[in-house]
Symmetry: C2
Subunit: 560 residues, 2 copies
């Protein structure tokens, strides 16, 4: 263990202003983040980009430097969707050793108290922010995201989501008095007086199960929510996206050691492909919290089997758009085209089902038939992706073969409005880059559009009228879940009906997005990501329920 060079109380004071602003922001929900989203040299410094790339290159073909308990066994499981060789080796530790180390770290982390825990987490986030370029390369070459997106979503935006969860956890554990002198007047004689203390007791060891596509953005909320409420965390990344979490764990262990705390408060659980380590760890009695992003199948399994744990899952869904009318037809098409194309539709927030009246829609360019809208949307996508360098900057690369297989299958499900085509990547010749597929379906094909087809696959669903479109949105989301919904209309009654249907279905909805805000993007501190109110997720990033299940108040009292 390193010598203590960073007193936790000092770390808290150093970042106190950031924390207080974050706590204010979660309550007021205005636009705020301490982590700049732009990778420009003026923001992060001239040296940040080359230093980050060099750091990333330094990991390749090496054992990742992580001093954890356990033997010398290493695993190498990643392959870049862009085709470069990664070859990074991670420690392979048996579950007993991991769980025992985390369990042993709990009392000291609990007893450090909320300020020390917040101080350590805030310092780690600060260091991660300064390493956002290094993280961008790590996220790009594990998820397949294009570089700028990998920088933003994997760096500052993930950090902001982590800070948001930290703020919720800190706020919820400290907003109630830690001690009180309780005086109860008596009818005769002196009052009864008791000294009472209240401790936020962590639930236990937390298991964080990461995903392939957003290895940090979907992981940081659970990580920091568990940590700030006193729970040690075992981070189990997806075998194809280990490096971003290895860097994260390494930074946290570094700060913990400097603060004189047990570095085993945060551990990396790398595994071989198909080892099933998540299931093994999730059902250990010591593991009392599980955070998961991934398939509905394994998410449901966790909910059903990790019964000793507080389980937060984000799974599949059928995101929907209702198109009724618009006074900005070109802008609507441009906005939708970008949403369908960004990261090749490999976002849990990408629209899948576009419900459109078969009789067409009224627009500022006159009435458009449903056929015309489909053709114009296809044209908007093709225009956006017409130039390979720009196209690959939007699309990134296909993360894994499962996505390619689904694109092939989906092409046979209905009338193809827009073919998915291959794009040659100007820099990485081995990258699989594919444009979005758009398939037209009748409203009766709920067997197809009622389930998720993850990837650049969307359905234009013809409905009898807008009422049916709104109803289908509500019903498919109530049944299949969704993380996002959207509506386009010039009519207030249609917008109201859509918002009410979204409230009934428990999904967040965006209306008339025609500019630079996209339905698949949510802003930390203001937009909720998911709601927990439909089958796509049991939790929202971040709301009170996301943190309240991670600790209990335990009380002691004595006569004064």
């Amino acid at each position: 263990m390193a010598t203590v060079s960073a007193d936790p109380a000092e770390l808290f004071e150093r970042h106190r202003d950031t924390l207080e602003q974050a706590v204010t922001a979660i309550h007021e929900r205005h636009c705020w983040t301490p982590y700049p989203e732009s990778p420009r040299p003026k923001v992060y410094g001239e040296e940040a980009a080359p230093a980050g790339e060099a750091a990333f290159q330094g990991y390749l073909g090496q054992d990742f430097p992580l001093d954890q308990p356990g033997g010398k066994d290493r695993v190498v499981t990643e392959r870049s969707p862009y085709g470069i060789t990664l070859g990074v080796g991670y420690p392979h530790v048996d579950p007993d050793t991991l769980v025992a180390a985390a369990r042993d770290a709990l009392p000291s982390w609990r007893d450090a108290g909320p300020r020390a825990r917040a101080g350590v987490c805030l310092e780690a986030l600060h260091r991660l922010n300064r390493r956002s370029f290094e993280m961008a390369h790590a996220v790009q070459h594990t998820s397949g995201q294009a570089f700028v997106m990998a920088f933003q979503a994997g760096g500052p935006e993930a950090q902001a989501r982590g800070l948001e969860a930290l703020a919720y956890g800190y706020d919820t554990t400290t907003r109630y008095a830690g001690s009180v002198r309780w005086e109860k007047p008596q009818r005769k004689g002196d009052p009864l007086v008791m000294e009472k203390s209240f401790h936020a007791a962590p639930r236990g060891v937390a298991l964080l199960i990461g995903c392939n596509t957003f290895p940090t953005w979907n992981a940081y909320p659970g990580l920091f929510a568990s940590l700030v409420t006193g729970n040690p965390v075992i981070a189990k990344p997806h075998p194809r996206a280990v490096l971003p979490m290895a860097i994260t764990v390494s930074v946290l262990r570094e700060v913990l050691a400097e603060a004189g705390l047990d570095p085993n408060t945060v551990l990396l659980a790398a595994e071989r492909n198909d080892e099933g380590l998540a299931a093994t760890l999730a059902t250990r009695p010591e593991v009392r919290i599980v955070d998961f992003t991934g398939s509905t199948g394994f998410g449901d399994w966790l909910e059903n089997n990790a019964r000793q744990a507080f389980v937060s899952t984000e799974k599949a869904g059928v995101n929907a758009v209702v198109v009724d009318s618009t006074d900005a037809y070109r802008q609507m098409l441009g906005n939708l085209a970008f949403s369908l194309s960004l990261y090749s539709g490999q976002m849990c927030t990408t629209p899948q089902n576009i419900f459109l009246p078969g009789g067409g829609i009224d627009t500022d360019e006159g009435h458009k038939s449903a056929e015309q809208v489909g053709a114009d949307l296809a044209a908007a996508v093709s225009k956006l992706l017409g130039e390979p360098k720009r196209a690959t900057g939007v699309l990134g690369a296909i993360a894994n073969d499962g996505v390619l297989r689904r694109i092939e299958e989906a092409g046979g499900l209905g009338e193809v409005v827009l073919e998915s085509t291959e794009v040659a990547h100007p820099e990485f010749t081995e990258a699989a880059v594919r444009t979005p597929l758009i398939v037209k379906l009748g409203a009766d094909r709920r067997d197809v559009y009622g389930r998720e087809h993850f990837g650049p696959i969307s359905f234009l669903v013809s409905t009898g009228d807008t009422d049916e479109a709104v109803r289908l949105m509500r019903e498919t989301i109530t049944e299949g879940g969704a993380l996002t919904a959207a509506v386009y209309s010039t009519r207030e009654d249609v917008l109201d009906a859509a918002e009410r249907a979204a409230l009934d279905a428990g999904v967040n909805i965006s209306a008339n997005l025609t500019g630079q805000v996209f339905v698949n993007q949510s802003a930390a501190f203001s937009d909720y990501h998911g709601s927990g109110a439909n089958p796509a997720a049991t939790a929202a990033l971040t709301d009170p329920g996301y943190v309240a299940g991670r600790f209990h108040f335990v009380q002691s009292r004595r006569p004064a």
Copy 2:
């Protein structure tokens, strides 16, 4: 439906000060309640006692006046532990009708918003407070509590716990902005501006499953937590304790109707004995919240089977006391004697296991052998209960035959230190009144003291030393759960060790109680009842986790 005579907004304003004080109290945790605990005429008025008794008498042998959906079928299931005939008939409604009525009430209750919901709930609590004498008789003759206790625990203290839960729910749903104008500066051009709205969406229909011994105190928190967060509630009381909840449901339906809201927002689900209605309702897909107080067996069943619901359970436990030393020997014995005797030990908070070093303890009256402490505790109980009128005022009556059977069985489990004897009730000759049984066991008899023996049954467990006593307290509670723990010691290191063991085991602990504060009593707004951190309960009354799982935030956003 009655004509609207109470505007919800006006109800909110009428009780706003109470609500704001309650919200302050849950955060500051000082001594506070708006509902006076004393049944004296000076407090509730000269007429309150006779009017309450007359109201109670008016129910006997009649159909309870409750205008719910469903047929004319009635059930009569109660018998008074004091032997009087109750014979009250309650509507017997089939589950489909109940669930459909509650589900249909949801949108209007949700759309009423947090202020209207709080206003209705606060007015109902106010009316219940004014009917505390009526409630006292109802609770006495269903639970077996003595009258004054039934008044306090069934009336103002239950109302305070309900208000506390209401305050948590109101605070947690309104402490985050309901809308915001979000402005994101752009490097070039105008900022992005969005208007965002955030709605607290209820989880669904709530099922409240009451218990025999505290039909209102254990029910009001879940009832008001669910209501204020927007969920209609189906109240399913214990078949032996229906009247207190029938009165409560009736008051709520009355206020709802006066406020122009759907009375079916609150429904009574009376059942025949052994009908199993709770299990039927708890697994309905529309039922998304279950609150339960009762046996570990059914509590575990609910946790395992009501998978679609947010389930809060309070079950059995092995409450513990560690006696190490004292500087107030007589007062300690008096305090413990009262705790063992109150309501014949039929409280989920009554101490069961008293861990005591076999070598005895140091006291202000010199060293006392373990034998002597046992004999002196027995004498203290006998002295407290020496006079029948006073004894029955403390003991109340045995709630049901299961308790009597357990007393008989426990007498054969070890060396009897104090026999349980019958006491003739001066007023109700048929009442079963029994004094506490105290049995001495070796520390090796964990098979006996490691499980709950609900009723006036306690064990004096001889340990090698205080360290072993503290260890056994921690281990038995970690394994078997507990709602309370206590320690007596003059040594700061022992108090610290016991408090740390309690924190490890996740149980609330009281130290050196020698006066008029008792380990089995908790004060709303200040003391947590349970913690959720050990097997005795999944929830605490009341903490953020108790309310956060009852709603989700759902968002809509539009460009400004």
